[in-house]
């Protein structure tokens, strides 16, 4: 179990190392590298069972991610993903997705 958690953390860490400034660009890169795998960028796949993120309210996205991180909102997948996100990551990603036109 520890090994799995470590691998996940390592992935997110390596991504953080690249996001130098708090910017939508950093959010864009993380979204492209991780979140889009399930949520897509502008739209989720018509066949995928994941909620869309583009154009959603920024504060809502931030709150949801923080709840996943502190596990007040339960989802095995999202709890693990959010666990590796810093406040700054969350701000960047929420800002990026909220500004995208779906």
């Amino acid at each position: 179990m520890k090994i799995l958690a470590y691998t996940m953390a390592a992935l997110l860490l390596s991504l953080s190392a690249n996001s130098y400034a708090a910017s939508a660009f950093a959010g864009k890169y993380k979204a492209a590298a991780v979140c889009s795998q399930c949520h897509g960028i502008r739209a989720t796949s018509s066949e995928a069972p994941f909620p869309p993120l583009a154009g959603r309210d920024e504060l809502y996205l931030e709150k949801a991610l923080k709840q996943y991180r502190n596990k007040t909102r339960r989802s095995d997948v999202m709890n693990n993903i959010a666990a590796g996100l810093s406040d700054r990551d969350i701000n960047n990603i929420a800002e990026y997705y909220s500004r995208l036109k779906p």
């Binding site: 691998t7 795998q37 399930c38 897509g40 796949s45 018509s46 995928a48 095995d76 993903i81």
Partner: protein, 523 residues
């Protein structure tokens, strides 16, 4: 695009294990037949015989010793930076566990039977009377050569997102979409009649498409997996080839009726008799023939389009052949050989090898490119591999058959695009990190990379519009858009949304044969 052997490791390396407790996953029924589940969700990419196709082989041998938990996680989350989608929520935890067990205990299957009889039975007719179709396009377009077709894979390689999307490449607007059961892979245009196109899917269905009304009129399932399809210069015959099973078939391009089947086997360059996947199949404006590459047998066969479809076999071409392109009015064929890193020039008139030319690491020439500069005919070949971090695009003089230059590029590449009216040869960088977002542009004259475009997604399959004014690129995987650039200024001019776009095919290709040549040279 078809890489059975080269990508095995990267998929595995990209595994993102998650801690998943079994209780909370959607509770679908666990009683599914696992083989059926495999066929319905996995086989279009991993091969119906569990032997690998676009994606790695999944069988008891290749998955030996792998942790079932890690495999489960990988199936749930998908594999980042590859086409492997997340099956979380689409398959239940019980189903995923069952699949992992099934894969780890199933050996690669024997070549399954799919013969003319099965093909004939699979023929579907959607439009009974084609003579009643309108005589002109339903839409406004200057020339049908301005049509560009994109193979939109859809995230799961099937279902709603999977379609062939046709675009007016001057207006950058979608004209129509033709849904396919599984992901479209290749789009071929009929050179003799502009209204017909043919779409081949990952699972070897061929759709005959009426471009005037943007609908499929017929389809036939020619095998279980395999991308190869070619059309004869008179537009009368199609030849298609499969990875599973190891055969190829000639179809009547009008009715899609199968006419003759070929078993793909032969003695490879090392003297072994092998059964072989079908590599590229190509028709040529030079003659009434098809050329087909037998991947594993290392042979190129020339089939004459006359009574009985006789075959001339050219042996010892190379180890693991894949794709090819034409030059010199279609008389010379340049074939890529993965395993010995060469490109082989074949004379289709004498049906002999002209010369074996050095390429880069694992040459994958895509559709190739041929450009005329300063009196020379230069061929451009992309190279898939990244041996010793030495990644190049190979340039040959196709008159003298000499290597001109190995142009350094930032990663592995799989498809070059060129146009007589555009200054750059575009190549797609596919190395699996941030570089995969980019394409690079090589100046035709200086043969140097002069610009890198950050397209997004997994950027691949560049293609110029028929007039050469625009460069189309797929931002594939999760990029979900086709991005259009001005071919001279390289400014982005449009974006067209679709799910997981891959190959882009301009109808202009039927005029210039190989991208980069001018239609005048074909006269």
């Amino acid at each position: 695009m078809t890489i059975k052997t080269t990508i095995n490791k990267s998929l595995l390396a990209a595994t993102i294990p998650l801690l998943l407790s079994s209780g909370s996953v959607l509770a679908k029924s666990g009683s599914h037949d696992m083989h059926k589940l495999y066929e319905e969700n996995c086989a279009s990419c991993h091969g119906s015989d569990h032997g690998g196709y676009l994606a790695p082989a999944l069988n008891s041998e290749t998955l030996k010793g792998r942790s079932p938990t890690a495999l489960r996680s990988l199936i749930m989350t998908g594999s980042f930076e590859t086409l492997m989608p997340p099956f979380f929520g689409r398959l239940s935890d019980t189903e995923i566990r069952g699949l992992v067990k099934h894969l780890q205990s199933t050996p690669k299957l024997a070549n399954p039977a799919w013969n003319i009889k099965e093909m004939k039975k699979s023929l579907k007719i959607y439009v009974r009377d084609e003579s009643k179709l309108p005589a002109k396009p339903d839409f406004k377009i200057d020339s049908m050569d301005d049509v560009i077709g994109v193979a939109a894979r859809g995230k799961y390689g099937r279902g709603q997102g999977s379609e062939a999307v046709f675009i007016n490449s001057k207006a950058h607007k979608v004209i129509g979409k033709v849904a396919t059961d599984t992901a479209a892979h290749i789009i071929e245009f009929n050179p003799a009649n502009e209204r017909w196109a043919y779409v081949k899917t990952d699972t070897a269905e061929v759709y005959k498409v009426d471009l005037y009304t943007m609908q499929a009129v017929r389809s036939i399932k020619t095998g279980l997996n395999g991308p190869a399809i070619g059309i004869s210069r008179d537009g009368k015959y199609l030849m298609v080839g499969s990875f599973v099973p190891h055969n190829a078939v000639i179809l009547d391009a009008d009715t899609l009726e199968p006419l003759k089947q070929f078993e793909l086997e032969g003695i490879d360059p090392d003297g072994k008799m092998v059964s072989s996947d079908s590599g590229m199949i190509i028709g040529t404006p030079y003659a009434d023939i098809f050329a087909i590459a037998l991947e594993n047998a290392g042979q190129v066969w020339i089939i004459d389009l006359k009574d009985g479809f006789p075959v001339t076999k050219i042996k010892n071409v190379g180890r693991h052949l894949h794709d090819a392109f034409l030059s010199h009015k279609g008389k010379k064929l340049m074939v890529a050989s993965y395993d010995d890193s060469i490109v082989i020039a074949i004379d289709l008139e004498t049906r002999k090898i002209i010369k074996k030319l050095p390429a880069g690491c694992v040459p994958h020439v895509g559709g190739g490119s041929v450009v005329k500069v300063d009196g020379r005919t230069l061929g451009f070949g992309t190279n898939f591999g990244t041996c010793d971090d030495n990644t190049v695009v190979s340039v040959w003089d196709l008159d003298t058959m000499e290597l001109v230059k190995q142009v350094p590029v930032s990663g592995g590449t799989e498809s070059p695009a060129a146009h007589a009216n555009a200054p750059y040869v575009a190549v797609d960088i596919i190395t699996k990190d941030r570089r995969a977002r980019t394409i690079q542009l090589i100046d035709k004259k200086s043969l140097e990379v002069v610009k890198t475009l950050d397209v997004g997604g997994h950027a691949y399959f560049p293609e110029y519009s028929a007039d050469g004014k625009y460069l189309y690129v797929s931002a594939g995987y999760t990029g979900d858009e086709v991005v259009v650039y001005d071919s001279k200024t390289l400014k982005k001019v449009a974006s067209i949304q679709m799910e997981s776009p891959a190959g882009i095919f301009s109808r202009g290709r039927v005029k210039y044969m190989t991208r980069g040549l001018s239609p005048d040279e074909m006269e």
